[in-house]
């Protein structure tokens, strides 16, 4: 968060870190009534650290800046530092409290306000020698790091540009029609990948429960629109996904289900299930519906819950199983997916959800696993052993993700699976 607009003559790397250091040097001779507050937004979870969130948070201090001797510095790592002189603490408390409330779902803001172990905000009484020196050290460290961070950011930007995987122009209405056309005519069969979901029983080894079939988006993008980021607009992407569904159905219908292979799952839009293409699909795999699991995205379910219930009833009656995908530990805090009465629920794991602060969230999953005897909970996007461990501790037995891929490969090579 370098405030380039206000300091047009400064280089990006100097940033607010440099300005703050200069400010501190000027302050050194007259420290009466001066103090500083360091708000560590850099320690927020990445989903809460989006630039516009930080921008909104920093606006909470605007009235202090306008009415008192207070200056806000926005650090490159997204931390905020407020340097004040004789600003009424109550007013400042109020502003900080507001920012903390904005991030109330974040473990960082959970710590008790003003307590010793509160990581959210640290106060420095600059009139006091020791605090002044500590603060100066913090600022100097930040300045050194800032140069490095900026360099890394530049490197990452260049790397992203070179590796065009999911970069590129945003998807918009101007290019959607063309992409739509390419998608309808492009070959997709060779882009279909699969990822196993494994079941780990108590005391037993693992076994593949089913395999999810999907189209690799980065490969698809390279083929139909190398310059456009297909995932940049979620709503327009859903539009493309409906078309992709129909292409996928044709591919999967050719799958040889007569082999005693694993069950497979397929991500579909709810509207697809009611389409003519799905009827064709159903006719061609009729004898094997028991091996098929249809995955629906939670967002799609909320578009029209009645349509979901209709589709679920229809599928289950025909012998398919239904899975709800796209949940996160945060989703579960706000609604109980049990009411959707699906056969499987997939919750996406994320490393931010490990750690002690989020016990409450984990309890939510645990309660869900216990309450749904028939329903199977899958922990998705599992990328480490510790994720599987936490999952098992919560009673989860089904896992999917990069780590599971490696695990399965190892099991295959040892002949376990």
């Amino acid at each position: 968060m370098v405030n380039i607009a206000t300091h047009p003559n400064r280089s990006v790397f100097a940033g607010d870190e440099g300005l703050l250091k200069e400010h501190l040097e000027r302050l050194e001779g007259n420290r009466a009534g001066a103090f500083a507050v360091h708000i560590r937004l850099s320690e927020l979870r990445s989903s809460n650290r989006k630039p516009h969130f930080i921008r909104i948070a920093s606006r909470s201090f605007e009235s202090l800046e306008n009415n008192y001797d207070a200056i806000l510095f926005k650090m490159i790592n997204q931390d905020l530092i407020l340097s004040c002189r004789d600003v009424p603490i109550n007013n400042l408390d109020e502003a900080i409290h507001k920012v903390r409330a904005l991030f109330s779902q974040d473990p960082l803001a959970v710590g008790e306000e003003g307590s010793f172990d509160d990581r959210f905000a640290s106060w420095y009484d600059l009139a006091w020698e020791e605090d002044f020196n500590n603060f100066k050290k913090v600022v100097t460290d930040m300045e050194v790091k800032a140069g490095r961070v900026a360099k890394e950011a530049e490197k990452a930007r260049k790397a992203a540009k070179a590796n065009k995987s999911m970069a590129g122009e945003p998807l918009d209405l101007g290019n959607l029609a063309k992409i739509n056309h390419s998608l309808q005519n492009a070959r997709v069969a060779d882009l279909v990948c699969q990822q196993p979901v494994i079941c780990i029983g108590a005391g037993k080894g693992g076994a593949v429960a089913f395999r999810e079939y999907f189209v690799s988006m980065s490969d698809l993008q390279r083929r139909i629109a190398p310059d456009v980021n297909l995932l940049s607009s979620p709503w327009l992407f859903h539009y493309l996904a409906e078309i992709l569904d129909k292409r996928m159905l044709v591919v999967v219908a050719r799958h040889d289900f007569s082999e005693p292979a694993d069950s497979i799952s397929l991500n579909l839009n709810i509207s697809t299930v009611r389409s003519r293409e799905f009827q064709h699909f159903h006719r061609s795999i009729k004898d094997h519906v028991g091996k098929l699991i249809v995955e629906f995205q939670l967002t799609d379910v909320f578009v029209d819950v009645d349509a979901y219930y209709f589709a679920r009833d229809m599928l289950q009656k025909q012998g398919y199983r239904v899975l709800i995908d796209g949940l996160t530990p945060l989703t579960i805090q706000f609604f109980d997916p049990g009411i959707l009465e699906a056969d499987f629920v997939k919750i996406n794991w994320s490393p931010e959800f490990s750690g002690e602060e989020v016990q409450e969230r984990m309890m939510g999953i645990q309660a869900m696993v216990r309450s749904s005897k028939q329903r199977k909970v899958i922990l998705g996007r599992v990328d480490s052993e510790s994720a599987i461990k936490s999952g098992l501790a919560m009673g989860v037995q089904h896992f999917q993700g990069y780590f599971v891929d490696t695990l399965t490969q190892a099991m295959v090579s040892k002949g376990i699976v």
């Binding site: 989006k50 409330a101 904005l102």
Partner: protein, 428 residues
């Protein structure tokens, strides 16, 4: 008032009026006409029931065969009548004028060149009138042919239309999006009230929702295309509508609105620069009168942004309303109900058909759980809907049926006021 797609092939009122004038050419002596420019009124005075109230005032004159009324596409009225009915026609026009007396257009009438009411003598003004009507017909015709010439495959088009308008394609939406960027949408803004009922079953406004009429947008910007036919493309379009709505609300002189208001936004919009700029320009007091409506689907698609944005706008003083709930989703989000201030459950006649008592008691429990003072039954289109809602514990209602009750109540008040006036003038 705008005729729908279905009667496009019927002669338009403009055409009928032209035909009428032509037939009148040699019988124009002793005939007069009055042109009432309802199109000059502010949008909130130009809702369907207003136009209906104004046009129905001529009913007794029409029935007694003293005149003929034409309702033009732009909402303007043209009434042609026999000279002997002049006093009666004048009384009707006075009444209409009275109905809209609080509209800025009538207040500025003396300084503005455009007049709300213009009287014509058919004999003297015939040629000028004919010209004026011909222009109107031409404009209407041009609009219709523009639509037609852009269509190649008439059969496919008609077929799709029969199935609720031409489907939305990315290309069409792109055109709409571009058109929206520059169009003045203030005349597409509609207002619908959320009401409770007093002891005499009369509606009492709680707040009103402002929205851009999608049906009229479709007619204005891209006639015959069903803008809502693809959920995802439509959802994308709402981002543009959000920006236009904020721009309009930001200009206080543009829409003069009384009472608390609500409007729909995307979660993404709440954390955008456009919203911050809007928020900067309105006074702290006004924030308290505003309710931001968010869609359930949008919330769950951006949950962490929602959690952040809800807190942010509530802190600022806005209230947050969750729109688009039904009997299932209200149960899903439970007692905490996403910590919103207000919830809207959509009425659907299915509620009556699918299980009756069971559904009602389930809904009743949900409403009790979240609080009946913060739950609105919306899309109410019949008396049965209100009865069902009341039995399920709802106290707040919104929808077409409520609008008709308001119009009825306004007519009653209007008559009452008129009667008092007459009585007062008699007593002098």
């Amino acid at each position: 008032m705008a005729p729908g797609v279905d009667n496009k092939h019927l002669p338009s009122q403009e055409n009928l009026l032209l035909d009428y004038l032509r037939r009148l050419e040699d019988k124009r002596a002793g005939r007069r006409a009055v042109y009432i420019m309802l199109s000059g009124l502010k949008p909130f005075n130009r809702r369907e029931q207003h136009i209906r109230a104004a046009s129905s005032s001529f009913e007794s004159l029409i029935q007694s065969r003293h005149g003929q009324l034409f309702c033009l596409k732009n909402s303007d009225l043209f009434f042609a009548f026999k000279a002997e009915a002049t006093p009666h026609a004048e009384a009707v026009v006075r009444k209409i004028r009275f109905l809209f007396s609080d509209d800025p257009f009538l207040e500025e009438e003396n300084t503005d060149k455009r007049r709300f009411v213009t009287w014509h003598d058919m004999e003297k003004d015939y040629d000028a009138l004919l010209l004026k009507v011909q222009d109107a017909v031409e404009a209407e015709h041009k609009r219709a042919t523009d639509v037609h010439s852009s269509r190649q495959d008439a059969r496919t088009t008609l077929k799709a239309r029969q199935e609720q308008g031409e489907p939305l394609t990315p290309d069409i939406l792109w055109r709409v999006e571009k058109a929206l960027g520059s169009a003045d949408l203030s005349n597409l803004v509609r207002r619908q009230f959320v009401c409770s009922f007093d002891s005499k079953h009369r509606p009492e406004p709680f707040f009103s929702e402002l929205f851009i009429s999608i049906a009229d947008l479709r007619e204005t910007v891209i006639p015959g295309v069903n803008v809502t036919s693809n959920q995802w493309l439509f959802q994308h379009l709402t981002k543009t509508l959000d920006r236009r709505m904020l721009a309009m609300l930001g200009k206080t002189d543009h829409i003069t609105i009384s009472g608390d208001i609500s409007f729909n936004l995307n979660v993404e919009t709440l954390v955008s620069d456009e919203f911050l700029a809007f928020d900067d320009n309105i006074t702290a007091g006004r924030r308290g009168t505003m309710i931001i409506e968010l869609q359930m689907m949008d919330i769950f698609a951006n949950l962490s942004a929602f959690v952040f944005a809800r807190k942010f706008v509530q802190d600022k003083g806005y209230r947050v309303c969750i729109d688009g709930l039904n009997r299932h989703t209200i149960e899903m989000i439970g007692r905490k109900s996403l910590e919103a201030d207000i919830l809207k459950i959509a009425w659907n006649s299915e509620l009556l058909n699918s299980g009756g008592e069971v559904v009602r008691s389930k809904l009743r429990r949900s409403i009790e759980k979240v609080g009946k003072h913060k739950t609105i039954l919306c899309r109410v289109d019949s008396r049965e809907a209100v009865n069902f809602g009341r039995a399920a514990g709802a106290m707040l209602f919104q929808g077409r049926y409520i609008e008709s009750l308001i119009a009825e109540d306004n007519r009653r008040k209007e008559l009452l006021r008129l009667r008092r006036r007459i009585e007062r003038s008699r007593s002098f």
